[in-house]
Symmetry: C3
Subunit: 140 residues, 3 copies
């Protein structure tokens, strides 16, 4: 049984849904050593989130951004937390809807994602700086 | 410390929320050997998802399907990913809202679910074929 | 490799989003023994949920409650599961949107949360009694 934990620093990205599977794989050197295990990813922020979805057509990621903006609009009359800008409270709501962490199965040295699955960073702020993800890999 | 990992293949189900606790338990032989542990379930698809909710009244599952269809309608004017049918982009959105994986506590050889909790497969496509779930069980 | 599992009983809370980081830390004695690991939290109920978000301004938690009440209103005409009161079916829907469990990284004896992150209990019923959370801590 082994544990690896490290910090993956991602540069600033524009608001939207971004495919980061390659960035995550570059950030975890030890994946190939595991026959079976789990990779846990945790984003240390409250206005960005992680998700798994389609890794092919970028229109899916555009539609996700557009639809979340309809479900969680800016300037809703019931928002009281407004001092940090119109994109801030929607970012918190999107963050709890999508979630701050992912757990992914590992088999024979690789992530056991489906053919069409990729890892997303969901950036909900207009002008965020970089984001930090804690990767915890366990297995044997 | 032991690890078990296997693939659970579920047959095609109609669009909606389905209780699959029994299917999952049949798919993991080794649960009774663990005094303490965690079961991780991961669906290898981007248009179906996993959730935990009420295991009794089927109206709860019907209302979930009806309400997700209101929150994530077909044919919204902002969808650009439309080539795979009107149920496709809503399926991706529902998938990220509900999530692709579950982690459940294990104690004394059984899942430590609450009295009213069951495991759901949430099928978001109209005519899906079967779905694959990777079950990873760890503990001692 | 060590495993600890215990039951954390939280007293009744009013409907809304509540910061429970301190309650969780009080409930897991063994965190300081781990150099690296994961904490898994699982709520054994179908009308309350767990989330991670801002630990500072209470307006964020108020806005979350207000916004979830807009996305998931009471008395929607498509609800058929209505016998347990107008707050019941919305509670189930909010529960699957937010999720029943959290997995959090552990490093050098403490939770590796971001500066602004806290753990929320999201109580979706008007008159709930206490809630039970199963905490499973693993690591080395």
């Amino acid at each position: 049984m082994v544990w690896y934990q490290n910090r993956i620093e991602l540069g600033a990205m524009p608001r939207g849904f971004h495919l980061i599977t390659a960035d995550i794989l570059r950030g975890i050197d030890d994946l190939h050593q595991l026959q079976v295990g789990l990779l846990h990813l945790f984003i240390q922020h409250t206005s960005a989130s992680l998700a798994v979805n389609e890794n092919a057509d970028p229109d899916v990621r555009g539609d996700l951004e557009r639809h979340f903006n309809v479900m969680v609009p800016e300037n809703a009359p019931h928002y009281q937390h407004t001092l940090e800008g119109p994109d801030d409270m929607p970012a918190h709501i999107k963050s709890v809807l999508l979630g701050s962490s992912l757990t992914l199965p590992v088999s024979e040295g690789r992530l056991l994602l489906g053919t069409w699955q990729g890892i997303y960073l969901c950036e909900h702020r207009d002008h965020a700086s970089g984001r930090t993800i804690i990767a915890t890999l366990q297995g044997e």
